[in-house]
């Protein structure tokens, strides 16, 4: 037979819901925008920073765009908080706070991490990861923490006169410091660690399209997240997650977007690293 029978074509499962993909898109856009307009301020003595700021339209323009993206990211943050609360308290899915589908670190995650390191040194088998691996949870909380800290300090500086009514003046020095340094950490984390862990690791190189298509093949799910696969089979939820393979346009869309963002991110990572080392 020339054509593959339906049985032979890999079955795809929905891993990331459209809502989360859109939210990730919003998060990605606003983070990239904030980094591109914020890092020139952080390294304002570097030539590239001045040129970049100039290209965008000068100091007034970068400030405007920085604040615009900040509002966008705040919106994104609030949407997510709203979603979690809706899930937990309206739909009664308390599992969002604890259990195999939760982002909250579970005892298994610490065990997984320990086993992962043993595996690195060839001292044991690869851990069987669940829906979210421990480094993915780390990613999530790093971003969560970052948004809370950088966002709060940013708003304090934006509305400095207002906040000075009830906050001591010296706090503004701390907010500037925290905002700039925590942001640098976030930029490096996203553009180096997150990019690597999600896209550049073996088996996924050079791009994991799951964040754009939302779908994983049966093989990928079994190999990468055996614990999750078994749980879904055992609880009979797997069938409900069945979905068509990702269409070509969606894959191409993901490729274009993904590579653009990764390239931009690496460029910013390199520039900020150089500027940091020459500080």
């Amino acid at each position: 037979m020339e054509r593959k029978s339906p049985d032979q074509a890999p079955q795809y499962y929905l891993r990331i819901h459209l809502y989360h993909r859109l939210l990730h898109g919003l998060l990605m856009t606003s983070f990239l925008g904030l980094a591109a307009t914020g890092m020139p301020l952080r390294f304002n003595q570097a030539a590239w920073a001045i040129n970049l700021a100039h290209t965008i339209g000068g100091f007034g323009a970068i400030l405007f765009f920085h604040r615009t993206f900040a509002i966008l990211l705040t919106f994104c943050f609030l949407l997510h908080i709203g979603y979690v609360f809706h899930l937990a308290f309206v739909r009664g899915e308390i599992g969002v706070f604890w259990g195999p589908s939760s982002m909250v670190p579970q005892p298994k995650d610490f065990l997984d991490m320990f086993q992962h390191f043993r595996w690195f040194f060839g001292m044991g088998p690869k851990p069987r990861f669940g829906r979210f691996a421990y480094w993915e949870k780390f990613d999530y909380w790093a971003v969560f923490w970052g948004m809370a800290i950088i966002g709060t300090s940013g708003y304090v500086m934006w509305f400095s006169s207002l906040f000075a009514r009830f906050l001591p003046g010296w706090l503004f020095n701390i907010t500037l410091l925290i905002h700039a340094d925590e942001a640098l950490l976030a930029v490096w984390f996203i553009f180096a660690i997150h990019f690597f862990n999600s896209h550049l690791r073996s088996g996924r190189f050079p791009l994991d399209l799951v964040i754009f298509t939302g779908r994983v093949s049966e093989g990928e799910l079994q190999e990468e997240r055996p614990a999750e696969y078994e749980r879904l089979v055992k609880e009979g939820d797997l069938k409900a997650l069945q979905i068509d393979p990702p269409p070509l346009w969606l894959k191409n869309f993901g490729r274009i977007l993904g590579f653009t963002v990764i390239a931009t991110g690496f460029l910013l990572f390199g520039l900020t690293l150089l500027a940091f080392l020459s500080e």
Binding site: W119, A164, R201
Partner: protein, 374 residues
């Protein structure tokens, strides 16, 4: 004696016109003047004047010699040969070097409407020798005013004098006093400032006079954004000079701490832009004041802690009493000054590399395992 525009003597004593008749009188006057100087100022030896100058002084040493102008104003044509001899040009120039339009006697007719026009007629005279400074003045705010608004804007001679040109900076206070002739109000404020007091009361030459900040010939319009943006650099010329600042126990950290702070960062950015909003960020003078600048320990100083909130409110109208504490007063954070900022910075200096290097190591281990397993 009064002369008309043709240079003919019309006064009672001017009947016998002609240079030859005039010369002996001139000799006498110069001789008397030289004798006067020798007697009065024994230490100052009058220089011998070139014959041409002596010749001109034959008429022009007459104190009553005047030119009647169309406006009704009168221009004295008296030149004190002694003053000229002591001037910086005394042994270098002859009258016609500057007054190149006058070669004959009687002088060619020149129709001046008023006094200012008379002075303006000789504006280009200095150019022949002082071409660099002349061209610089063409970029100055004084020339802009002169060419567009008012003929009252100063020309070379208005600051330097004409026949009595002397080294402008001797003594240094002379410079500020020269500017004060027109900029009276600014001068009075300057005279009360920490810089002005030191200069005028103690003859201290370490402090800036007008031209140190504004320059002398290519004076820029100080009301422009580009001049404002240069302010930190201007002040820093002295205020980052280790030797000079040590003399007065002043910090040389002021520029660096400013540039690292929000205001300085913003200023650095705007420096590179073609279009800059008029009020964009605070520069030195916005907090410390410009001409009226006082020592920071003076209770009247604008940057004294008790007064600081008023300064902040110039740009942050709703600033509260606690607001100025956001400013570290040009102190570099240290365990003594702003310890919280210092330790926080220290924390991040270690925390960021620690996190990033740790995670990179994890990635490298991961990669290593993948390679080994293959």
């Amino acid at each position: 004696m009064t002369m008309d525009a043709k240079g003919r003597g019309t006064g009672a004593t001017g009947k016998g016109t002609g240079a030859m008749n005039r010369a002996p009188t001139g000799w006498l006057v110069v001789g008397a003047a030289v004798l006067f100087v020798l007697l009065k100022v024994a230490s100052l030896e009058a220089r011998a004047l070139p014959p041409e100058v002596e010749f001109c002084l034959g008429c022009h040493s007459d104190r009553t010699l005047e030119l009647a102008l169309k406006s009704g104003e009168r221009r004295s044509l008296f030149v004190d040969g002694n003053v000229f001899a002591r001037s910086i040009h005394g042994d270098k120039l002859r009258c016609t070097d500057c007054h190149s339009d006058i070669e004959t006697y009687p002088h060619p007719e020149r129709a001046f409407k008023n006094l200012r026009e008379f002075t303006l007629a000789y504006y280009e005279s200095c150019k022949g020798c002082h071409f660099d400074n002349y061209t610089k003045t063409l970029d100055s705010v004084h020339y802009t005013v002169l060419s567009r608004e008012s003929l009252k804007a100063p020309l070379c001679v208005d600051c330097h004098g004409a026949h009595d040109v002397a080294s402008p900076g001797v003594p240094k206070s002379r410079i500020s006093r020269t500017c004060a002739r027109c900029h009276r109000e600014v001068y009075q404020r300057y005279a009360q400032s920490v810089h002005g007091k030191a200069l005028l009361q103690e003859e201290n030459v370490d402090v800036p006079v007008c031209t140190d900040c504004h320059r002398s010939h290519d004076i820029e319009d100080p009301r422009t954004a580009s001049f404002r943006l240069k302010t930190p650099e201007l002040c820093a010329r002295c205020h980052t000079d280790e030797k000079l600042m040590r003399k007065y126990s002043l910090s040389t950290n002021v520029l660096q701490t400013y540039l690292k702070d929000f205001h300085g960062m913003t200023a650095s950015f705007y420096r590179r832009e073609q279009i800059t909003p008029a009020a964009f960020t605070a520069v030195c003078t916005d907090c410390h004041g410009v001409h009226e600048i006082l020592p920071v320990k003076d209770p009247r100083s604008a940057v004294m802690k008790a007064n600081l909130v008023k300064v902040c409110r110039k740009c942050h109208p709703d600033a509260t009493e606690g607001f100025p504490a956001a400013w570290l007063s040009h102190y570099e954070p240290s365990p003594e000054k702003a310890p919280l900022v210092y330790y926080m910075r220290l924390f991040y200096q270690f925390f960021i590399p620690f996190v990033v290097i740790g995670l990179v190591l994890q990635i490298l281990l991961h990669l290593w395992r993948v390679v080994v397993n293959r």
